[in-house]
Subunit: 312 residues, 4 copies
């Protein structure tokens, strides 16, 4: 496979395309946004006039789209990727959507002689740029073998998780867990700081104890304790809180549908929803620390003590 | 008992004192706030220069104070109510505090020959004014019998709940439950309205079904559906959210100390804490509806949908 | 409308059919269960050999089925109620299902010239027998007008909540709220009892205060305080915990889909799921009290205090 | 400091004493349990007839006791460690208790010319035996310097967290967080497995993504995926669930007292309480996985689907 159609050239799709180009693949791309198309063209991506046109010329199609509804339409609508692609084409969806949509789309594609992988990613824009994404792949092993050179151009770790849909299921499990651990970390830091501990010292203790987790180790939410993370940059960049919320809502739906206990997952989801409603949707998800504590140099958000005589 | 010392003449204490006066009792009062003292004097309350002076002249002392720490100091500090009161005096604490403080204070008072009741109230300022408070009384039956004429001057329902501390325990149980039901009501209304239901019609349905509760019946949180409640008045008046939070924190502590399941109570408490931190501490506790939904004529607080290509 | 097809003759459908007969309607019925058919025949219901046969002979069809999938199939499958019913027939679905299924089914029916109401009920078997159900109706006002004589034969209160789907939405809102209030009530009772209060006295206090709700007033979960409720009968009868769980899962899904805050609703749902997993699925939902406290005369389920020296 | 009094010779105290002996210290010990005393004597610990007798002969006293109440009494009661110890003695409390008790005890000790460190540990019995505990120390730097040789005989990492009480605060923060991450991990695994993923593959994915945490890395709760952890041994050994619960209750109290957000912490605490009430108090805390999923080879604990026609 030499010629790749890339549909969706935004914060993730563009750097991924660049890494494909750098690895010697030809990339013909499309995005609904003119601005994204311009940026892609400047990076060397050949532009198509539609997703279908791109797909019609490619050995392999990669999609990176916002929602399950977008994916269903892109693949199955009249003039969509199914219709435009040649039999035998390998289609790879790297969006984060519910596994049920993937299963449904993949079944239609297979019935029409196409091959499909769901291959959502972990790592965000920084690791998309660095070519060090993690791919969680659902689908047939032989299709993954065919796709591996492409995926290795964009990522560092490639996990074959199971059949179609398994990639998305794994992604949702992971992001539910990372949301829980982030909120838990924030609560533990707030508890320590409110009782006089230095957040750096406390973090060092917990990092070396049973509280160790990714947020403490590599994505610290407290500003000033770690470089090159969103908390060092006013929570800009990174993984937006409303994307985290979207993933946790998908996980909640999956848990509800499969009658699985997700009490902490549900609650952490609700907390990210409140955080977004409080105006922080566009900030990195580690900004949930603002819900738990005042940060140095930021406006106070305190509970004033009741004054006077309590009524009721 | 004819002559009553009333300590704490605020939003609750002042109207309670007025009702005692109207029933023919003499009231000698004290409050730390000069403004409260002035208002009390204008209502016919005789002013003392200190709580101790008031207590020294009275057959019965009623306290209405903000916190357990205030109650402990008012009663037990040097020159406090214990020292100032005569043996045999009946002391009634109508503050909302933890039952453990009451038990501790009552034990000291009894050892010194005083009598004590804990008698927290339900009903808020409106029912304090109307003389229709509910009293939840802990202590000896004979002391309650002696106090009954006073309590009946201020309230409509008087429950003898058990020994000292039981009044406060009952109050905390009730307020934990009312907090849970209020948040639950708000969530149910938000769910219906988001899916196209008229809040008035939905409220009517639930009021006549298994969802019926005090919030729907007599304290509706949705503006415009009920008169003479805080939601009809921009959530002014009523029972401040930070007082609700204070009571729920006391209930949480009691549940934790007694190893009792309070999962919904804990979570509702956290939600009122967030609500207060969001700047609504001074609004009536039914304003928690703002956390769940946009209200007509109020600024939006929405979760914008993620735009563009999802990262991570 | 004189001749009614009734599909689903179980614990709810059978007594509802009897009340239709008692009011002078003809009822031709069907149920997949032979036992249910026999019981219906003994009550005077004319039996059909299939749902379709029943529907083909009736002016109005009422369905009372377990799940949304059952409803979709019963109406829309080959040889289903749509195919079997005559144009102009009024179809009334009294199952508790998600509103989205109702909206979907109603659209198909209308396009084929049928009329449809969603009319889920509140009240359980006792009120189905007594003919005092509450109906929450979604659909056109004129269709409700036509159905009203039937509904009044089976119920006491009939609420027109909105268009198709609104009945189910209202039902889910109510049942989410009733689940929350029940768990809250149970937590408040457990807190009081653990701290020495008499549950009867505490209930009396809260029933007269801001904690008042349906569980305290008419469906008390603590055994021995109220007659003719499931707690008086070993939690047999009433509304099974797994049905409560089913409704709360539907409500959770609706809240998640509509991005509505349902933090307490989610958690109460998880608690009913745990309760069912603990072996209480078949008990009335007020048996959730077993999760919070030991009941008199029942085996203990306590947290033993840690003994010895704590590790870690 | 050469001669150490060790009070509390249980699962933690005994192996810690052995490591002190192995490092050349003299240890004179005491425990209320005759069985613990016998085991200690067999290990070479010199036995005293009381805690006071041991303390009277030592340069340094280490306590390892179950609760804050035990600690307060051991130190401050008549004939307690304060009275028995010589001025200048260094007392080290390695129990896990609330920081407020430590602050109170330390103030009394200092006023009487004693020195005190709070030095709770992380690691459990296995790391106590291996001499690789983590110490979180609160108190003066010079006292820690004096204690360091002892602590290094028992542990691998020694963190100076702050003044007296800070050690306990850090411990509680960490254990609240580890409880949250464990429950979150269990929920994520249950979600994946219920949707067809292999728990080993899913764990590998999450360990390499943003869900990485101590439970996945070093303390896996799913049986069969990791050796030398409690899940490999029927959840025997390790850190008992009721000890985890005790620590989370202390953390909850601290959060409530300091008005800190601990929504996930509170809920995880309630879940461990349910787990203990369900009969698992004595199992390692990773056994909380039983709440979320059926484990291979264990009896099912499922939610049966509702059968028949739903009432209410």
């Amino acid at each position: 496979m030499k010629r790749i159609a890339f549909i969706g050239l935004g914060n993730m799709g563009l750097p991924m395309s660049r890494n494909l180009l750098a690895a010697g693949f030809e990339v013909i791309g499309y995005d609904l946004s003119p601005r994204a198309r311009t940026a892609a063209a400047e990076s060397g991506v050949e532009l198509a006039s539609s997703a279908a046109e791109a797909a019609g010329q490619a050995d392999c199609v990669i999609t990176m789209l916002p929602t399950g509804q977008d994916v269903r339409e892109a693949y199955l609508a009249d003039g969509g990727l199914l219709a435009a692609s040649r039999p035998g084409t390998l289609l790879i969806d790297s969006s984060t959507i519910s596994s049920s949509v993937t299963v449904e789309v993949a079944a239609v594609l297979r019935a029409a002689g196409r091959r499909m992988l769901d291959a959502p990613v972990s790592g965000g824009t920084p690791r998309a740029q660095a070519g060090t994404l993690t791919f969680m792949v659902g689908g047939d092993a032989e299709d993954l073998a065919a796709a591996r050179p492409l995926l290795e151009a964009m990522g560092q770790k490639i996990f074959h998780v199971g059949g179609n849909g398994a990639g998305h299921t794994a992604k949702l499990c992971n992001n539910m867990l990372s949301g829980i651990c982030m909120v838990g970390t924030v609560e533990a830091l707030a508890l320590g700081v409110a009782n006089g501990l230095d957040p750096a010292v406390l973090s060092d203790v917990m990092r070396n104890s049973s509280g160790a987790n990714y947020a403490l180790d590599r994505y610290h939410p407290y500003p000033g304790l770690m470089e090159n993370v969103p908390s060092a940059n006013g929570f800009e960049g990174g993984f937006r809180s409303d994307f985290q919320l979207k993933d946790m809502r998908l996980a909640k739906q999956l848990a509800n549908d499969s009658r699985t206990m997700a009490a902490l997952g549900d609650l952490a989801c609700e907390m990210f929803a409140m955080h977004c409603r409080n105006g922080h949707a566009g900030l990195d998800y580690s900004s949930i620390i603002k819900m738990a504590m005042e940060l140095p140099g930021q406006a106070a958000m305190t509970t004033p003590a009741p004054a006077g005589i309590p009524a009721e």
